[in-house]
Amino acid sequence: MPQPNDPDLNDLMSIPDPFAASPSALADAKPNPEWWPASPTRSRMRLRRWVGFTSAVAMEAILVYGMGWRDQNPLSSWVFVAGIAIPFVSAAVLVALATREKFHLRVSLAWVLPAAFVAFAALTLASHGNGDSAFASIAACLVATTLFTAGPATIGLATLRHSFAIGASWRTAAISMAAGLTGVAAIRMHCANDAFAHVLIGHGNALVLVVVLMLTLGTRITRA
């Protein structure tokens, strides 16, 4: 008889099992996997993840190229490089964490996410602050950042569909956060408006939006 490994739960054993002697005719119902649709093996899944991540980054590069590189108000070199590198590296770390099976995801996310956010906020505050905080520009950038974010998020969903048996919502949140950070980094290469309110609301809100959307809709797709 199984015993819980916790003394608090010893009382549970006093409840009898209604299905202890349940008949099982499972041998007759054994499914044949050859009739099922082909499923990716472990090596194929690993390849699929790499292809997904690379294509998400490539998609962002193409979008930035298509929408145009920022030509006004160039940032100082270290702010510019860090403002792009930190979100990209954070995104890569988040994807790596989310797709690892043996990792205490919740603990790592509790450290990684605030760290990424603080880094992003610090860089935003450290920027030149030139530009306007008009509602129209904020709204336009919110739409553009959402577009930048939608690509990696969609690729992430397609790549990682039916992948997470345990901790699906946390992992999906990590993937969506990675997609959001990639979008934020990409919009920084396109948008030359560095006003604090513009960057925080226009660029940052897309990140929140994608996380909320992915948590409500995406979890059902990524869940195994």
């Binding site: 008889m1 490994n5 299905f19 202890a20 002697a21 499972l26 990716p40 194929r44 048996a165 195994a224």
Partner: protein, 282 residues
């Protein structure tokens, strides 16, 4: 006794379990020395450390519990693993089979199904309350395991992973049933009484007379009905800990929550069941 102590001649003679342990330990030590010497002579330092580790583990391992150590009055479980050692061995074998299947070895599916299906079936049966629903859900669960096999990483445990998939299958089924308006494991769905328990399924202390069997059946029916009326969060925590024999950590992993939360849910379920049994004088 006194002379033996004074002369010391018979101090190491086998006189009971204690001296047997000493002899056994000395035999082990000599075996370790042999293995170490052989390994060192061949300059296989890695093997030498492996030998030390293996024997240290063998010394540290507690003796396995015999069947006679089972507490009196313990309730039987036909489907759950009877011994911790067996469960561990079975679990290791399951992990190995799943690793093979995840790597693309289709021949691993049949033994994997034979080992895993009974556990998932009883889990789904306890959640759904009906055998034909549990069988359908089991098919769906295995389809999903097949679909997600590439995401099962090597070195991780299969049981929490597969239980989590089975749980998702049941949650999806419950959602669809709610939309369609068909009962899942409501009290109405479980009014069909359970099969009359035979001697093997009765508590060890119970009488096997017909009235005792009827009484036992009524108790099991009541437990099943009360379990069906519990919120799903409490029911699944209780089922995983009490009937499936998982640890609190494993249950927390499957239910995607904290260990404390699992304990609270299971305890609330226990209190509800206890109250129901008390009301009927159990």
């Amino acid at each position: 006794m006194t002379t033996a102590w004074l002369t010391g001649a018979t101090a190491f003679e086998p006189q009971g379990p204690r001296s047997a342990q000493v002899t056994f330990a000395s035999m082990r030590i000599s075996r370790i020395q042999h293995s170490l010497a052989a390994a060192v002579v061949r300059f296989e330092w890695r093997r030498a450390s492996h030998v030390v580790k293996k024997h240290v583990q063998a010394f540290a391992a507690p003796p396995s519990m015999s069947r006679e150590d089972k507490p009196p009055g313990a309730l039987p479980t036909a489907t759950a693993p009877p011994k911790q050692v067996d469960a561990t061995a079975s679990s290791l074998s399951l992990d190995h089979l799943m690793n093979r299947y995840a790597s693309g070895d289709a021949s691993a599916f049949a033994p994997l199904y034979e080992l895993l299906a009974p556990r998932l079936y009883t889990f789904l049966l306890r959640l759904s309350g009906r055998s034909h629903i549990a069988q359908d859900l089991l098919q769906e669960a295995f389809l999903r395991i097949h679909r997600a096999r590439g995401t099962f990483s090597g070195g991780s445990a299969l049981l929490p992973w597969s239980y989590a998939i089975a749980r998702h299958v049941f949650i999806d089924f419950a959602r669809h049933s709610k939309v369609r308006g068909t009962p899942t494991n409501s009290a109405a769905a479980t009014t069909t009484s359970l099969p009359i328990p035979d001697e093997t399924s009765l508590p060890a202390t119970a009488d096997t007379a017909p009235d005792a069997r009827l009484h036992a059946q009524q108790t099991l029916d009541l437990v099943n009905r009360t379990l069906a009326e519990l919120p799903l969060t409490q029911r699944e925590a209780f089922v995983l800990l009490r009937f499936e024999g998982l640890t609190v950590a494993e249950a927390a992993q499957i239910l995607d929550t904290t260990e404390g939360n699992v304990k609270v849910r299971a305890h609330r379920a226990y209190e509800a069941l206890r109250a129901a049994l008390r009301d009927t004088g159990e």
